[in-house]
């Protein structure tokens, strides 16, 4: 289908939905890299004008990546629920944007349409929204999940404690873990990115995390973020695996480049559920995503990077995950050039994920070759908390010494919780009280290693 718009006396033509979405997207370097971005700011606004007039029904008739070539497209078509779509079926993208912001579109109304949404619809509407719109709508959506504690409740802000170490040294990891727990981090997950791909190392780490969790009776879950096939192997060998992690992307080809398929995700989901390790819920999957992933795998089909990202959420929602986060600034300036692009992408990803029904978190981060610094991270952290983000990732001092990038610090989590009067998951908050890590005003005590006795003992 061809789309047109006339802006300032000039007529613009967009050959198909894929092109229209790409040209309407806010400026970012990844779209420029693959040559799909608008030629200039006026063409970008013209594309938005045309996009605003596209009926939502059109998204059910035109796939941005052909059905035959991509199992993600097939999944979206198969899972589409016409009854959920009915309340908005008569709207254009522009009308839907206004409806999403209306008082009528409350938590229940947004939950009711969730299964009727395709990733392309959600991506499209986000392109017609300013940052404040992305925040205002996202905060109306609540996605509650549970394993050993409950994530996503109102007034709560979870955190992943990421105690990485460049050589996977168990005691080095334990030191970073202790620091985070003393600062109230880790209710979303105690999650290690291992430096090596080794199953043996993964076994050592997952056992260590589980042993510490049991010793202090911490109501949280652990995860070693290794490839899904490694996690399956660890489950087979009897490792205490709480969550199955996998990076996913929005096209079959990109997922293949990660060595993952929908069948493999099904298998791992079933394997983790069969362990029945959750105490208050059975959400067992943890996914990471990020704009630019499909482009860097050369599996983008000429689709803009933000639309591809939302397609990854269509994969994620099929597995009722406990946690999903975008690793928004990790990929580098060739996809998100500077703080402005990273902040915008973080808010889009959170909004789109929530609208699709995901328990959306974020790794607020940047690399040293991006035009960004801690002030940009502060901005995004605060904006995401305003938007009701489920959880944020934190590392000691904001410096990940294994992955060589800057994320948030444990202290940043304290700050954002205090600014928004948000607490960790209720079960975890009670644990912090029980261990006398919190004072009478819900503030963390000084982080002294001896506050968790025996932690570093062999």
């Amino acid at each position: 289908m061809v789309f047109h718009a006339t802006l300032q006396g000039e007529r613009y033509r967009f050959d198909d939905l894929r092109t229209l979405l790409a040209k309407a997207s806010p400026l970012r370097s990844g779209d420029e890299l693959i040559g799909v971005a608008a030629a200039d700011p006026v063409e970008r606004v013209a594309a938005r004008e045309a996009l605003a007039n596209v009926p939502l029904r059109a998204f059910l008739n035109e796939a941005v990546i052909p059905f035959e070539q991509c199992d993600v497209t097939r999944l979206v078509v198969e899972r589409h629920d016409a009854a959920s779509f009915a309340p908005i079926a008569h709207m254009t993208v522009g009308q839907w944007r206004d409806w999403l912001l209306s008082y009528e579109a409350d938590e229940a109304a947004l939950a009711a349409i969730m299964r009727g949404l395709t990733p392309e619809m959600v991506s499209a509407v986000s392109k017609l929204m300013r940052n404040q719109d992305l925040i205002a709508v996202a905060r109306k959506v609540r996605v509650v999940t549970a394993f050993r504690n409950t994530q996503g409740l109102k007034g709560r802000l979870g955190s992943r404690l990421q105690p990485n170490h460049p050589t996977d040294d168990a005691r080095g990891i334990a030191a970073s873990l202790l620091d985070g727990l003393l600062l109230g981090a880790g209710d979303a997950v105690l999650g290690i990115n291992p430096a090596t791909d080794s199953i043996e190392t993964g076994m050592v780490l997952v056992r260590m995390l589980d042993e510490i969790r049991r010793r202090y009776d911490i109501p949280t879950q652990s995860c070693v973020l290794t490839h899904i096939t490694n996690t399956l192997a660890m489950i087979e060998r009897g490792a205490p695996v709480d969550l199955v992690f996998q990076s996913i992307a929005g096209t079959q080809r990109a997922n293949e480049s990660f060595g993952v398929s929908l069948a493999l995700l099904d298998e791992a989901h079933q394997a983790a559920r069969s362990l029945r390790r959750g105490s208050v819920g059975e959400n067992v999957m943890y996914f990471e995503t990020g704009q630019g992933a499909a482009i860097s795998a050369d599996a983008h089909f000429g689709v803009d990077q933000q639309t591809l990202e939302v397609r990854a959420y269509a994969v994620a929602r099929d597995y009722a995950p406990l946690l999903v986060n975008t690793v928004v600034g990790f990929i580098g300036p060739e996809y998100l050039y500077d703080g402005k692009q990273i902040i915008r992408a973080g808010l889009e990803d959170h909004f789109c994920g929530k609208l699709m029904g995901l328990p959306m978190g974020c790794d607020v981060c940047y690399t040293n070759h991006a035009e960004a610094d801690q002030d940009d991270s502060d901005d995004l952290m605060m904006l995401l908390a305003a938007a009701g983000v489920n959880f944020l990732i934190a590392v000691p001092g904001g410096d990940d010494v294994m992955l060589n990038y800057q994320s948030l610090s444990y202290h940043d989590i304290l700050t954002v919780r205090s600014v928004y009067d948000a607490a960790p998951a209720p079960e975890f908050e009670r644990w912090l009280q029980r261990m006398a890590l919190l004072d009478g005003q819900r503030r963390l005590n000084a982080n002294a290693p001896l506050a968790l006795p025996g932690f570093m003992d062999e």
Binding site: S29, E32, L33, P163, N164, H165, P166, D169, R171, G172, I173, A174, A175, S176, L178, D179, G332, P333, E334, Y337, T367, N368, H369, A370, D373, Q374, V395, P396, G397, G398, D399, V401, N404, Q406, S409, H411, L414, T415, R417, S418, R443, L444, A446, N447, A448, P449, L450, M456
Partner: protein, 249 residues
């Protein structure tokens, strides 16, 4: 540091700091990080940023032999970080200027994401590599600006080398802004995939790989590639079992 770090003798974290370079046990000002710790991270970030934007000055490499200077199609650092595709191709006039000089190996000193790394590590690695490669004919040393790894493919093909070794600055981290990688590509030509290369990384003086160790491993890989007639995944698994000289960590 006095406002954030207690006296080491009384710092309850001092024993744990030896276990990791992670910034554990940092001070607090209310919920926030103590000011000294904030500035310490800013200082490290500033050094990394300087490395990313630095330019490689060949005069300061103190190379023993003449060299040829080339540039990629990325005109400046700003475009370079945004457009990896431009960093993988030679500027037309530089491609035309490269001599056809068939040889076994051509070494390229490339800025990559840290000109600082190339300046500090590459000359030493090159010198050690020469000593480790008796009987190999080496092409002219190339100094490449705004270069990505794959720029070596075009350089190697133009020169007519059987193998190209890119000595290229890594993306700076906060702990090391001057870490170098070596990428070896047998039978270089435009379009080689990353899976057809072998890489040695983390070459720097802050607990990383030494110049001698890098040269030893590189020579091992080069001999393996010559035997196999290719580089990449097929070579990778065997190479890491190589016996290192005594004293190498």
């Amino acid at each position: 540091m006095s406002e954030s770090r207690p006296d080491p003798a009384r710092d309850p974290w001092s024993a744990l700091r030896g276990l990791t370079h992670a910034r554990i046990g940092l001070g607090r000002a209310g919920d926030a990080l103590a000011g000294a710790d904030v500035r310490a991270l800013q200082a490290a970030h500033a050094a990394a940023r300087r490395a990313v934007h630095a330019t490689l000055d060949p005069a300061r490499l103190s190379l023993a032999e003449p060299f040829i200077e080339v540039r990629s199609r990325a005109p400046d650092r700003g475009v370079f970080v945004r457009r990896p595709d431009l960093g993988r191709r030679l500027r037309a006039q530089d491609a035309a200027r490269l001599p056809h000089a068939p040889c076994d190996v051509v070494f390229v000193i490339a800025d990559g994401l840290s000109a600082l790394a190339a300046a500090r590590q590459a000359p030493g690695v090159l010198e050690a590599a020469r000593a480790s490669l008796p009987g190999w004919s080496l092409g002219p040393v190339i100094v490449a600006h705004n270069a990505r790894v794959a720029l070596g493919d075009e350089i190697g093909a133009r020169v007519g080398a059987r193998c190209v070794v890119m000595m290229i600055g890594e993306r700076p981290g906060l702990s090391a802004a001057d870490s170098l990688s070596l990428y070896l590509t047998w039978d270089p030509k435009i379009g080689r995939m990353d899976s057809e290369r072998n890489c040695l990384s983390n070459i720097h003086a802050h607990g990383g790989m030494t110049h001698d160790e890098a040269a030893f491993r590189l020579a091992w890989l080069l001999r393996g590639a010559r035997t196999l007639g290719r580089s990449g995944i097929a070579l990778k698994d065997d190479s890491m079992t190589a016996q290192l000289p005594p004293g190498t960590p």
